[in-house]
């Protein structure tokens, strides 16, 4: 078990800056996701932590010990790769035992640890098989078991579920969460899938363009995104951003008024689609509905608010026709206010 301190890590590939000074502290036993679109630098960061890539500058400390310059094997970590990287010329047993064998563990311990890890991941029936006889999901389990068998201080996972089909992914996600909670390992999990990050993590670090935009619990990141990017990247439908006029530090929305911290004459309202309630038109924010789609659990409205595109969600019991205008009552505690210039949100309590 170990904590990880990432201290101002920079990485350039030639003229391209993949990481522009990333700092992050991960507590012992915590599960942190690095979430971001492809090419944002999250995998590069993970590979730097693993020692598979060298940082241009900055420091990484695992359990208070700087690991910069150490080869991967001396960093006390294990990793699950995107393509599993299960060794094809070894049986599942030998794959899972690989890390222990390299540590020169005695046979009894190897057997015990492999059986324990195999039990956690439900791969006992395949221990004698070769990986080419396994399905993608089973290989994935082998890769996770191999990582857990060494009881690492730190577990790194690089999009481990992205090669699985949707149903299997959901199943593995739930199972991973159970297994990792039991193991209590400090975990860094790289993904571009927001539902994975939301579901699994203690905290999410949203990475964008070589920087960490926000670090917080899934609920914090979802409800109060630090930047416009975070709000639009997380959530389905994404957060709505509506530019509104400010009068004397207040924004008037129908019958409601909100005190806002804006200096200028405009502010951007960050509105989660499902935080609104229906009210009569003119009482709140009016949405001109273009399309109403009953999704089953809820009703999705696509249209425009103050002439700006927006998507909101109403209970499935509401009936809305295409072209109708619907009044929306806002919940002051669940709104985010952002600067129109910088796209950065104002502090919540202000």
């Amino acid at each position: 078990m170990a904590n990880i301190v990432i201290d101002n890590i920079k990485k350039s590939f030639g003229a391209f800056q993949a990481l522009k000074g990333v700092s992050l502290t991960i507590n012992d036993g915590e599960f942190v996701s690095l979430l971001g679109p492809s090419g944002c630098g999250k995998t590069t960061l993970l590979r730097i932590i693993a020692g598979l890539e060298t940082a241009t500058s900055g420091d990484i400390r695992i359990g208070e010990r700087s690991v910069i310059g150490l080869p991967p094997k001396d960093r006390g970590l294990a990793m699950v790769f995107q393509n599993y990287a299960v060794f094809p010329h070894m049986t599942v047993f030998e794959n899972v035992a690989f890390g222990l064998r390299m540590q020169k563990a005695d046979e009894a311990r190897v057997k015990k640890q492999v059986e324990k890890a195999a039990g956690l991941l439900h791969i006992e029936p395949y221990l004698d098989r070769y990986p080419n006889k396994l399905s993608g999901g089973q290989r994935q389990r082998v890769a996770v078991a191999r990582a857990l068998a060494v009881e690492p201080g730190v577990l790194l996972m690089d999009e481990p579920l992205s090669n699985l089909d949707a149903l299997l992914r959901l199943e593995m996600r739930t199972e991973l969460k159970t297994v990792l909670q039991e193991a209590g390992t400090t975990t860094i999990y790289v993904t571009h899938d927001q539902t994975e990050a939301m579901g699994l993590s203690d905290r999410i670090a949203v990475v964008h363009d070589g920087r960490i935009e926000q670090v917080g619990t899934p609920v914090e990141v979802y409800n109060h995104p630090a930047t416009r990017f975070v709000g639009s990247f997380i959530g389905n439908p994404p957060m709505n951003f509506i530019t509104m006029p400010v009068n004397n530090g207040q924004v008037a929305v129908g019958a409601q008024t909100f005190a806002v911290p804006a200096k200028g004459s405009e502010i951007v309202l960050g509105l989660r689609g499902e935080t609104v309630e229906r009210t009569s038109t003119g009482q709140g924010l009016d949405i001109q509905v273009r399309v109403a789609e009953p999704m089953g659990p809820h009703l999705l409205l696509t249209g425009s608010i103050l002439g700006q595109p927006a998507r909101v969600i109403l209970p499935a019991t509401e009936a809305v026709k295409n072209g109708e205008i619907v009044g929306l009552k806002l919940d002051a505690s669940r709104l985010t206010w952002l600067s129109p210039e910088s796209g950065v949100s104002y502090p919540v309590a202000a």
Binding site: G51, L52, P71, P72, K73, M79, F81, A85, P88, R146
Partner: protein, 276 residues
């Protein structure tokens, strides 16, 4: 009706398939068979006309007689020695080069690759004289080692480029996984990369062996007494009786066939892509 025509179609396909196989086998096997007949038939067999396809009057006697001829056995061993040196050196030097080409990015990588191939652009005939003089100076002239070295030069470019392809076929992530789970770079190479690349490496070895075994020009120029089999046969066979020539041919063919037969499993494996 339709089932009849369908089975007819299938049997036509099978017929084509098998006749293709028979034709290909005949292409390779009939000459070998005829050479063998000539080698084992003795003087009468070689000159007999009309030729018979049946192995009549065959005995190992003429072949053994040929083997006992002055110099044959020695040149056979020389050839094996030179080929052995070629295989060992071109793998020992070519595989690391191929690995570097496959795994590392370095300045001038493409030019290096081209340069490796360009070494084959010099006709050996041009180099023959300077090479002979250098060999005499270094004391390599007329030695098996000398022939092995020059054959290594011939085989090395292919070894480097073929092994590059083989190492590229081993996913990098496997190696990285090995590093993460406690291997040094060298351990990872021998525990993970080498076993997965083995079929390809064996194929490369076969290739180097065949290049050395078949090479005649350099071997003829650089040796006088320590002839390799090809060089030896080239000088003596023109004055030998017909069945001796057949015997020589058989002796040339045999090791290649046996060697390739022995490693055929690995050759098939490389075509089926070794690591996936």
């Amino acid at each position: 009706m339709s089932t009849v025509s369908k089975t007819g179609f299938i049997s036509a396909r099978r017929f084509l398939f098998w006749s293709g196989i028979v034709a290909l086998c005949a292409w390779v096997l009939v000459p070998i068979y005829l050479v063998t007949l000539g080698a084992l038939g003795g003087r009468t067999g070689a000159y007999q006309w009309p030729k018979t396809f049946l192995p009549t009057n065959v005995s190992l006697q003429p072949f053994i007689l040929f083997l006992k001829t002055e110099g044959v056995l020695q040149s056979f061993l020389n050839s094996l020695g030179a080929a052995g040196i070629t295989v060992a050196l071109s793998l020992a030097l070519g595989a690391p080069a191929g690995y570097a080409l496959a795994r590392y990015n370095f300045r001038g990588k493409d030019s290096y690759r081209l340069l490796v191939l360009l070494t084959r652009a010099f006709p050996l005939a041009i180099l023959a004289l300077p090479l002979t003089i250098s060999y005499i100076r270094f004391g390599l002239y007329d030695t098996v080692l000398g022939v092995g070295l020059i054959h290594t030069v011939l085989a090395l470019p292919f070894a480097a480029l073929v092994t590059q392809g083989i190492f590229l076929g081993v996913p990098r992530e496997l190696e990285e996984a090995a590093w993460v789970f406690g291997c040094t770079r060298i351990q990872a190479f021998f525990k993970i990369v080498a076993p997965l690349a083995l079929p390809g490496l064996v194929a490369t070895a076969v290739f180097a062996f065949v290049i050395s075994w078949n090479e005649v020009f350099a071997a003829s120029v650089l040796t006088v007494r320590e002839r390799t089999l090809t060089a030896y046969l080239l000088t003596v066979l023109s004055e030998s009786p017909m069945h001796y020539r057949f015997a020589g041919g058989l002796l040339l063919i045999l090791p290649s066939v046996v060697f390739i037969f022995a490693v055929r499993r690995y050759l098939f494996a490389i075509w089926g892509v070794s690591s996936k």
